[in-house]
């Protein structure tokens, strides 16, 4: 990690003297917490190390190797990691984003998801846009093997859409917002309920040994949630700055595609989405068995801290 | 098919090298008119420019001044009309002796004909047994004979030999000299031969050209590289004991600075 603050000396009233936590452009609240320096203020005597996660898989990698104590992922990614044995627990829901949708070029003749039959669609396997595509196809009654899924990284998917290599793209923000603004791409189908939530996860052993610090983190996230609704423009500016994207794109992402004002306690709402995604993992071989998925669903949630923060 | 012997004309040839310590003049004003089929021996002190002169004739180097012509036209590198046996054997280490000799064959020699010629030449230089050895497996003298065979394989109009017998014992040396006389007789060719052995020069050459070092303080600074040209009387094969030759030998050695009175 490269962004270290906190001075290491002090009261020592906390159960640990280090905290490794991530921030990510797909987790706006993390940007607020980091920018405001709340953790450093609160956790006197604890060295707080901030690490940027480039994506859910990177955050999971950090958590799995114990390089991170707390990391942010998409809900689907958290489930996948847990089902594959990574001992993590979701301690807070930071957002319900609408970061995925199905995108077609401006002049495309495709009018509905049903029209995708026989067409090629770019998506990054194992990420939310891919799960979004699967759910959308399922809802429209199009079998998966009736479309040609081209596995491309998110940015490459957009490039492939732009130069006509594919007919549609399961997009992800902020690239998706940029595609709309720059090349006039059109959102063919959107459905916020097909997006899994944003999960803040902690390692089990960290949670067991340093619950006091984990609680401070969750408290800071809830404080950030309030701050965000009070300062929407500043949040947009912050995201634009950190992600290096245009303000308009950042505004679209924050104001139209991200619900921050929601119940932070992980629970039934999330479970409902993940129950759809789970079997897909099994079918694709990414998780060995449905039993692993079921066990992960049972073990993933740790609602107490967020409940404490909401009430306290 | 083999080349006819060709005349060589050197006109006012000079060569100066650039070195870290300034320029170094090696050849100056060399004029030499070699008739077709003539054998010329080049003698002179170490470092006086004998090898450099051969390099001008084979066009591996270009004179700073003057011109070189073979058969009336300028030479080009790798000219079909010339062949060189370098002072070092310069064999390709990854080829057998036979394959090294084959390098000398004129391009587009039919394969079978080439192989026969290579075998014949290896036999002539006494290496028939060693055809499949690599250069690192043979002695200095064997490498030198291979290099000679390679030059002969080219069947050139002008044969340039840079101390071709330097690494040979007395007997092999005499045999190779006679081989050269033989080759010259059966397939006439012009020969420029660098040698340190004055007897050898007198036994083989029609004319002996004595070069001098330009740094030599004994000579006027304006004099050219050629100190003297000596005509050798008589036809080949000559009698090595001929009195005219022994006298010439003493004269030449005197020229080269060797006190001959201590020798018989």
């Amino acid at each position: 990690g490269e962004d270290t603050s906190g001075d290491g000396e002090g009261a020592g009233t906390w159960s640990t003297d280090t905290l490794a936590i991530d921030f990510a452009t797909y987790n706006p609240l993390s940007l607020v917490v980091k920018d405001q320096g709340w953790l450093e203020q609160e956790l006197d005597g604890v060295r707080v190390t901030w690490t940027q996660s480039a994506g859910s898989n990177k955050a999971n990698e950090g958590l799995r190797s114990a390089a991170l104590d707390v990391g942010s992922t998409a809900g689907s990614a958290a489930l996948l990691a847990r089902a594959n044995g990574s001992p993590i627990k979701a301690i807070d829901i930071y957002s319900q984003p609408e970061w995925s949708a199905i995108v077609v070029p401006e002049a495309s003749g495709i009018r509905s998801v049903a029209d995708l039959r026989g067409k090629s669609v770019a998506a990054t396997k194992g990420t939310d846009p891919y799960f979004f595509l699967l759910q959308a196809l399922d809802e429209a009654g199009v079998p998966l093997d009736a479309v040609e899924v081209q596995n491309l990284q998110h940015a490459d998917g957009r490039a492939a859409l732009d130069n006509g290599s594919v007919d549609a793209w399961a997009g992800l923000d902020p690239i998706m917002a940029a595609a709309q603004a720059e090349s006039g791409a059109r959102l063919l189908y959107r459905n916020i309920d097909f997006n899994s939530y944003g999960f803040l996860n902690a390692r089990e052993d960290f949670l067991a040994d340093h619950r006091d610090v984990a609680q401070v983190v969750v408290d800071a996230y809830e404080r950030a949630r309030t701050w965000a609704s009070d300062h929407p423009d500043e949040l947009v500016a912050l995201l634009a700055e950190v992600a290096g994207i245009d303000r308009e794109v950042a505004a679209t992402v924050i104001e139209e595609r991200t619900v921050l004002d929601l119940d932070p306690v992980p629970g039934e709402a999330q479970r409902k989405v993940l129950e759809v995604v789970g079997p897909i993992f099994v079918a694709s071989g990414d998780v060995a068995s449905q039993a692993d998925v079921d066990r992960a669903l049972d073990e993933l949630f740790e609602p107490a801290l967020a409940g404490e923060a909401r009430n306290g | 098919m083999h080349q006819l012997a060709l005349p060589v004309l050197l006109a006012a040839v000079g060569r100066t090298f650039a070195t870290p310590d300034g320029s170094r003049e090696v050849l100056r004003d060399v004029n030499l008119d070699v008739h077709a089929g003539e054998v010329i021996a080049l003698v002179g002190p170490s470092g006086c420019g004998k090898s450099t002169l051969l390099r001008q004739v084979s066009a591996l180097d270009t004179p700073t001044t003057g011109t070189v012509a073979v058969g009336g036209t300028p030479v080009t590198p790798g000219d079909r009309r010339t062949a060189v046996a370098f002072q070092e054997p310069r064999l390709l280490p990854w080829r057998t002796l036979a394959a090294n000799v084959a390098l000398g064959l004129p391009l587009r020699t039919p394969r079978a004909q080439g192989a026969a010629r290579v075998a014949e030449l290896l036999d002539l230089v006494g290496l028939a047994d060693s055809a499949t050895l690599r250069p690192r497996q043979v002695s200095g003298g064997m490498a030198q004979r291979t290099s000679l065979a390679r030059a002969l394989a080219r069947d050139p109009g002008v044969l340039l030999l840079d101390e071709p017998f330097g690494a040979l014992d007395a007997l092999t040396r005499l045999r190779m000299q006679d081989l050269l006389v033989n080759v010259h007789e059966t397939r006439p060719t012009t020969v420029l031969l660098v040698t340190h052995d004055v007897e050898e020069a007198l036994y083989l050459a029609d004319r002996v050209v004595v070069l001098r070092g330009l740094a030599d303080p004994a000579t006027a600074p304006s004099a050219g590289s050629v100190a003297r040209v000596v005509d050798v009387p008589g036809e080949r094969p000559r009698d090595r004991a001929d009195h005219v030759l022994t006298d010439l030998r003493a004269e030449l050695l005197e020229d080269l600075g060797v006190p001959t009175h201590v020798r018989p």
């Binding site: 898989n57 999971n60 990698e61 799995r64 190797s65 114990a66 990614a77 996948l80 990691a81 594959n84 044995g85 990574s86 001992p87 770019a122 990054t124 396997k125 194992g126 990420t127 899924v149 081209q150 596995n151 491309l152 990284q153 940015a155 490459d156 490039a159 492939a160 130069n163 290599s165 594919v166 993992f281 071989g285 990414d286 060995a288 | 084979s58 591996l60 590198p77 790798g78 000219d79 079909r80 010339t82 062949a83 060189v84 370098f86 070092e88 310069r90 390709l92 280490p93 990854w94 080829r95 057998t96 390098l103 000398g104 004129p106 391009l107 690599r134 390679r150 080219r154």
Partner: protein, 263 residues
Amino acid sequence: MAERAGRRGAPSRGGRARALGLGLVVPAALLAVWYLVTASGAVPAYQLPGPGAVWRAAVDLAARGDLGHHVAISVQRVLSGFVLGAGAGLAVGAAVGLSRLGDALLSPTLGAVRAVPSLAWVPLLILWLKIGEDSKVTLIAIGAFFPVYTTVSAALRHVDQQLVEAGRAFGRGGVRLLATVQLPAALPSVVAGLRLALAQSWLFLVAAELIASSMGLGFLLNDSQQNGRVDRILLAIVLLAVLGKLTDALIGLLERRLLRSWT
């Protein structure tokens, strides 16, 4: 450290078997350490699965019929890219190594492009060549190009001038000189360049299979990284190493044939 240079020559049969045995020492030791740290629980399985788990992942993939496909398609891509890239590297390396003009014109640009990473090529190639097989093979060829180009141009620049002169004196020029003297003289370096190029082809495969793939070892690696399937990541690594070594051994055979006279 000095025993080799003393006396050399073709190793005997027994010597070769012994060399093979020695070559297995390090891999066997690595395998043992891997087994021990995982079986003892020193490293939890979700962080580093043991050899057994990786073997089961292989069996599972094989049972689905995917493993063979992954391997076959990757080998095909690597070999096509390697042949194209190494051929181009040889040609351009010869031009730069032998001609001053070629050197002045090309080597600065190539020296710069050499440092452009595989991942950076991906968006550009998608732009130019769309997402088909072409762009993947091209990317691998780019990877294979540079090691051959670099070693060949450097080696040709420093071939023993006495031998070059000998070749020239006997009428070899241009391509013929290259084939007769310069390439054989530079052969050890050329072979080293080919080895690196082949290795680099495997490295670039992973980036290439980020381009619209659903098969191949690079895809398997990327996909498993995305999904956190550490056992499959390790499987992909092991397969890449084994295939890398196998294809490398092909060059080793070629080397033995070509360099027999050099030892």
